[in-house]
Symmetry: C2
Subunit: 313 residues, 2 copies
């Protein structure tokens, strides 16, 4: 494992190569993670999410620069929706981060939302582990959107920053509610726009409605594009880690995440077995046709597949 | 099965009661679908999706009114993000649809995004089947958001209407790309706003980039709030169903969806078995602690759970 020494010594090309491997070769990905796993757990992982149009890329860019001022190294995993036509990631916003790409203390990786056999969430987690061993002090995971898959990705972070913006329309109230609970810190970006105070008040009101917790997520108003109060947000991120450590929450949270990760891996493996089985013996094709003809129903069909599966394992 | 006769006779209370049951009692849900399945397949199912702030509720409302003018009956399943605090669905936008609620030819149901043991997608599909047997000529599934789970829900529809609006900011380009391919029809709503023509042109450009298909998704500019050109959109929806039927695509698409549905049911069932097993013998707790202590890694841990599972089934 020549690569392990190189990675531990902070070799950037090795880091890039390993992430490419985990994206493209599931079997090799497994071996890599097995080999490096014991060196993980040192980085502070920050998840940045929120509805579209929130300026999350700009905020990631500015947060990274603040961290660099403090002499910290940063790894960035940016989840980009994949173009359905080219199959490649759409790099639009990332172009703004180009000046970071030449900084040796920053490692940026865009990951497309498709083409990950074991799921994007798994690929992201593996990339984070590689960056961790590579020596990044901070790892930022940035996602676009507010769906369940995005939540699955960022909730593995130590600190989740939920980015809101003023005036996103009617649906936003609903979206906020659906994802509110995973936010450790709320950043109201574009706070120079009208309605920023109202958005902050709305977030506050929703937090007031919630159950009382040991720690109340702070709300920070920033203007990422002007670098206004991004340092205040970073202070809150650092304070959150101090809280996690002193309260014992860090250990609890990471343990819960590991538990979920194992269950997900088992799920993927079991599903692969089921799918292989149901494809190989063509039972699936047969019951599908029966359901199409309405000679049976989907539930009875799945039961017959299950029977087949348990008999043959 | 007294309820089956009542449902087939279009009894609204029975319809409401059955949907409540499928939402809350998984075992009973299975029985209901098994009993009614052979009477399904008559409704034209329309999925309406797109990024937040697109005015999808208003569009659903206006489309329903156009259908009612034609004497058609309509079932609506509106997916509402669930409040993390109350556990109930957030009904904000639905209030606009209140005048529809008193129309005996319209059945509206809001479903929260959480609390569905077998998954929201499964609950939605079951609700659609009940509405189908109940006798709705058209069933509209409306979702908020553009994540993977929303895509999973609407792609079971016969016709997917992707709603766009002008000026949704930087991220929108990326979102469009990620979900473009599931749109059978593109509706540019709020087309009285600046930038509508540009948004339409962008959608057109992306369709031009894509692979040549037998049918090119039309782009319709509407202003739902003013009821402008909603009838044009409805014409396109009806034409799409004619295309699906005449080309044989309807049969193909529905068969593919049934296949996916069966696989998902098998997945859910298998995962339940795995989870039960791993919880009962506390193996999961043990390996999780080992991973926390970095005596092993998540992949090796999942392999040991898998071994246990295959040995004990």
């Amino acid at each position: 494992m020549e690569y392990l020494d190189k990675l531990l010594n902070g070799d950037k090309r090795t880091c890039a190569r390993l992430i490419s491997i985990i994206e493209n070769d599931e079997e090799e990905a497994k071996n890599i993670i097995k080999n490096i796993y014991k060196y993980t757990g040192n980085a502070h992982v920050i998840g940045i999410t929120g509805p579209p149009g929130g300026g999350k890329s700009t905020l990631t860019d500015k947060l990274t620069k603040e961290l660099r001022k403090k002499g910290k190294t940063v790894g960035i995993v940016a989840i980009d929706p994949t173009s359905p036509f080219s199959g490649g990631a759409i790099l639009g916003d990332r172009i703004r981060m180009q000046d970071l790409a030449t900084d040796s203390g920053v490692f940026i990786r865009s990951m497309g939302t498709r083409g990950h056999l074991g799921g994007l969430s798994k690929a992201t987690q593996s990339a984070v582990k590689i960056l961790d061993v590579y020596g990044a002090d901070y790892i930022i995971i940035e996602t676009v959107g507010v769906g369940q898959s995005e939540i699955d990705i960022v909730k593995n972070a130590d600190t989740v920053v939920m980015v809101m913006v003023p005036g996103l329309g009617d649906d936003i109230q609903a979206i906020k509610a659906g994802v509110m609970e995973i936010g450790d810190i709320f950043a109201i970006n574009k706070s120079d726009l009208d309605g920023a105070a109202r958005t902050a008040a709305e977030v506050k009101a929703m937090l007031d409605m919630g159950p009382r917790k040991d720690r109340r997520p702070p709300i920070v108003q920033v203007v990422a594009s002007l670098n206004r109060d991004v340092d205040v947000l970073l202070d809150e991120i650092i304070k959150h880690m101090e809280y996690l450590k002193s309260s014992g929450e860090l250990k609890k949270r990471r343990k819960a995440n590991i538990r979920t990760e194992i269950i997900k891996l088992v799920e993927t493996e079991v599903m692969r077995m089921v799918l292989q089985k149901s494809q190989s013996d063509q039972a699936l094709e047969k019951v599908t046709s029966e359901v199409v003809d309405r000679n049976t129903d989907p539930f009875s069909a799945s039961e017959s597949i299950m029977k087949l599966f348990s008999n043959n394992i």
